[in-house]
Amino acid sequence: MKRSLKVTVITLFCIVSIVTQLSLSLAAKRTLEVWASGGKVWEDTYQEFQKTHPDIELKFVPLTGGFDERKQKLLSAVAGGVPPDVMWVDRFEVSQWAAFDALTPLNKYLPKYKVSSSQYIRQTWDEAIFPWDNQLYALPWQTDDRLIFWNKDIFKEAGLNPDKFPVTWEEWLELNKKLTKFDDKGNVTRIGFSVVEGLGANGAEWALGWANGGEYMTARSTKVTLNNPKLVETLEFLVKMTDASGGVEKASSFQGTWGTEVQAPFFAGKIAAMINGDWTFESIARYAPNLNFGVAPIYRRDIYKKEKKLVPITFSGGHAFAIPKGAKNPDDAFQFIKWITSDGTKAHRKASMAFSASMNRPWAPIIYAYQASNKESLEALAEQPVSQAIKDGVKLAHEVLAYTRFRDRSPAALLMQREFLGHARDEALYHKKTPKQALDDANKVIQSELDRLIDEWENRTGRKLK
């Protein structure tokens, strides 16, 4: 008797508390769960959202860990049917998520919330469109691009014109040979001109392929064209460049001796020139404010050869915000991603400037996908105590965006990256295969995976791509 009383009391207590919890949460504000980057700047930005949207309660979960780890977390949440309302994605992976039906198409929300593609940098918007169904799957947040950076002091010392960077690839090779230095044991002590990712450059391979008139895939990303003659020629050039700076083995052991921050190879004079991202300006301002450097765009080689005209080309990546399939609250989620990619970028800039000031660091802007915000960034930069060279450089980085391109959107994008930069390029750099052979082989591997993905997608959606 006594025992059953106890059980009854406990059961009653449980029921009451569950009911209270439920009714409390029903009465509360609409909550929005966001999985994105953390840190002070972001938290301040989210608070600004909270201020302007008091009826939505933001539940923010910072994504920790590396690139792979973040993706696995999102993947298991989506697969498990408990996705967040909003998630932060690498833009070049949007197509992979979309092909797996993991994201909500955004097209129907655009007119409702008055969002137009013209507000964003065209390429960043396009990169969030999945080419197989032409639907938009994310709103672009930020982007970047690549330029040539060179150390003017080293140029002067070598008797070169420090104010002008040569345009043709033949001149680049000469320059690299001239500026690469070895010690008496044959170790590399300075790379003349780095155009290989991981050996001082970033994103150069993609940009140079386009500069040469090459295409990595067909327009709708159904055929891989990695082995077209233009890209083969580009890879041949990369091999020549690497051989000129001691060969890949010596160059990578030299790379192992590099430091970071103040000791970064470009600041320490270990790289005379490189193709690298616009974030380099912020690093220069912070770690090498007195560096005597020059910046120039990469130019289209094919056009220059034919018409002697200088047309810039560069490579952009970046991030975006998306709404996973099965998100409980897609309308609020869209309001959030609209805000965070537009007005929110202003709040983000303000927060990042305040943060830099509090840390006593110089500030230089990142590039947002939202056009209006970038104008303000440049105005804010003009007031900053950084060198004119940095201000001019950042301006140039914004200007060449009009010519930028992004990696081909496809569910096999990651495999393409791995096969192109991880395998084919290395096989050529290590002289294991000719560039042609290496790209032929990689092309086959990617195409076979792509065909599988196309089949899967066609069967599921009942649509035809070919």
Binding site: E249, G256, Y430
Partner: protein, 296 residues
Amino acid sequence: MSRLKKNKEEIITAYLCVLPWILGLSIFIVGPIIASFIFSFMDYSVVLPPKFIGLSNYKKMFFEDPLLWKSLYNTLYMTVIGVPLNILLSLSIALLLNQKIKGEAFFRTVFYLPSIVPQVAMSLLWMWILNPQIGLINYLLSLFGIKGPMWLASEQWAKPAFIIMGLWGIGGNMVIFLAGLQNVPQHLYDAATVDGANIWQRFRYVTLPMLSPTIFFVLIMGIIGTLQIFTQAYIMTAGGPMDSTLFYVYHLFNKAFRDFHMGYASAMAWFLFIIVFAVTMLNLKLSPRWVYYETE
């Protein structure tokens, strides 16, 4: 009657006590094992519903994926060369440290210490040690007039570099061997000495047979562990240069978590299981020829 009831109650209590473990085992270990077996016959990209495709994954694995064989070769290379070296060195050091010498505890600690360094920290540290230009190893070699290889930057030397790095962490095995050595009864040595056995003979005919179960254990664990090698390659070389450190599990990881090709990765996992199982069975089969159990 009441005794029976009490028994029943005890049985229930016992089951309740092990229930958390049984639940954990079945939900987190047995469940996924069965699931992975089923997925290995499916096209499964996690987010989309899985689709049955028969033996396609296995067919693709065996006939259309050259990287699979390359990664298997790399892994077996590490096993065939790395594991015996590891045993040889840890046994030698255990023998040395089993002597009654001054500072015995100190030396044991020193040799054991590296094996408590986490894999990630160890990998980062060794990237410096192995650097061909400024690394310790090539500096030491240069003292003898040897020009050291390019280690992690070289297709031929990257795997040996990993093996050398692995030898730094022999402390775990050394401790196991030390424990095994303590168990060799002194009277056997005494008897051997009386019979006129020299130090080599005492080692060969007393220590080695008595230690053979320990060696066997270390061998099996070493093989299984090395067949699953992953962290070093993930952190230090990303599988390069030229796939020379693309180990089996790393390839599997790429397929599963980078390409979302879970069905294929499951098939790979089962193939690895069969290899591990076969190797272990072979070892067990061969063991009576050289492993001596005192109880026999």
